[in-house]
């Protein structure tokens, strides 16, 4: 029974996470702790992602 109740609970909780993630993303600074220290260099653009590190 408890397991059954956990399914809708988990569904709602994990969907709510997308809203919380959007708020974090829009606030910007809230994300700092998610990847690195504040004041680090700005993210590179995707073009650099596609350049092979070694040919």
């Amino acid at each position: 029974m408890k397991s059954l109740l956990l399914v809708p609970y988990t569904f709602v909780l994990l969907n709510w996470a997308a809203v919380a993630a959007l708020i974090c993303f829009l606030r910007g600074r809230g994300l700092e702790g998610l990847w690195t220290e504040p004041g680090a260099a700005a993210p590179e653009r995707a073009a650099t992602l596609l350049r092979p590190a070694r040919s």
Binding site: L5, V19, A21, W35, E37, P43, T48, L50, R51, A53
Partner: protein, 374 residues
């Protein structure tokens, strides 16, 4: 049709497509458009890359785990990138690496004095790595002995650029978890498996994935989702990223509240991904654009449409709409009951810990560790 009906049916379509329609679509698509992977007995040199910060409790076990892998030791290299650890992880790594010297082709330790983030740590590790294939894994999860062989067997197919392994979330009985988070993760893996059969998965599991060295490009320093950016880079370069269920890593299933925190991080990473790699949204650039939109972007949209579905349904309370509203309310009541059950379990655990034995409350322990889903 009124405005509320239009909003209701649009919301209903989006939610049901993302959670039901899309899985059915990829299941059917994988039957007619299956692209098998031509596996082979390839044995390239492999660099096993681990980025670690404060992993005092797990890193020794992880190194031992890597030393026991079933892969020719003369072709296997271990690269550990330390990201400004403050808990003595660096000392443990150096001691353990010195003790294991000669067990593998090489064991390299690279270290940053300050904490710069996982992406920067991985970039440093790859600079130091010499293998033809890079295998990324996290410090905590344990890899099965044959996992590397299984990953590189898929890379014998020249159309495959990256391979993701399978993460098994185990419960206290050492069985694959099947309730709450465990069930959700099984659903995720089903989607990955189907997507892989068609072309590529839209990401990998950070616990275990491999990529050809020449396809790796430095990860943007502030990127959150290296395990999506790296494999999607391979897809954009014209290769496939496939799911290999025979390459397995193990982890403990975590409570939904812990999963919630990770999910916030992962989904924030998906928003970031749209800014970093906008070409993923362009069908002429991204061969798995439909999958990316349905699987990744759809998940970002669903919660907003769930709110609209309930709000519009409250304005429509006749016939079918009334039945649907009752169903929605029942679902959310069950979710509320689930929250109460979880809350009771957590409170009980903390009380039990406080009452006896002088132990620390369990909650901090619950909030440590765990996996991350892309």
């Amino acid at each position: 049709m009124g405005v509320f009906e239009a909003v209701f049916w649009l919301s209903f379509f989006v939610v049901s497509y993302v959670y039901v329609g899309y899985p059915l679509l990829v299941a059917a698509w994988s039957r007619v458009g299956r692209r098998p992977v031509r596996r082979g007995p390839w044995q390239p040199t492999v660099s096993l890359v681990i980025a670690a910060r404060n992993e005092h409790e797990t890193i020794e076990g992880k190194i031992d785990n890597c030393l026991r892998l079933d892969y020719p030791p003369e072709k296997l290299e271990l690269v550990i990138s330390l990201d400004g650890p403050t808990d003595g992880t660096d000392r443990l790594v150096v001691e353990r690496a010195a003790a294991a010297c000669g067990s593998l082709r090489s064991i390299r330790v690279v270290r940053s004095e300050r904490h710069e983030g996982k992406a920067a740590a991985l970039n440093r590790a790859v600079e130091a790595a010499s293998g033809e294939v890079l295998v990324f894994c996290d410090a905590r999860q344990r890899i099965e002995r044959g996992a590397i062989r299984e990953l590189v067997a898929d890379l014998a197919d020249p159309s495959v650029g990256a391979v993701t392994g399978e993460l098994l979330l185990l419960d206290d009985d050492e069985r694959e978890a099947a309730d709450g988070v465990g069930l959700y993760w099984r659903y995720e893996k089903f989607l990955r498996s189907m997507e892989s059969r068609i072309h590529s998965t839209v990401g990998a599991t950070g616990a275990l994935y491999a990529i050809r060295r020449e396809l790796f490009a430095p990860i943007p320093v502030r990127a959150i989702l290296d395990d999506v950016i790296v494999p999607m880079g391979a897809v954009l370069a014209g290769k496939r990223t496939v799911f290999e269920p025979r390459a397995r890593a193990h982890d403990r299933v975590c409570p939904p509240e812990v999963e919630f925190r990770r999910k916030v991080r992962t989904l924030a990473g998906n928003f970031q991904l749209l800014a970093l790699m906008p070409e993923l949204l362009r069908p002429w650039r991204n061969p798995v654009c439909v999958q990316f939109l349905s699987h990744k972007v759809g998940r970002l949209l669903v919660p907003h449409f769930l709110v609209l579905l309930l709000a519009s349904n409250l304005m429509l309370r006749e016939g079918f709409y009334l039945v649907f509203l009752v169903g929605q309310c029942a679902f959310y009541l069950l979710a509320g009951a689930g929250a109460l059950v979880r809350n009771r379990a957590r409170t009980g655990a903390v009380r039990a810990a406080r009452a006896g034995l002088g132990r620390e409350p369990l909650e901090p322990a619950l909030l440590k560790g765990g996996h991350r889903q892309p």
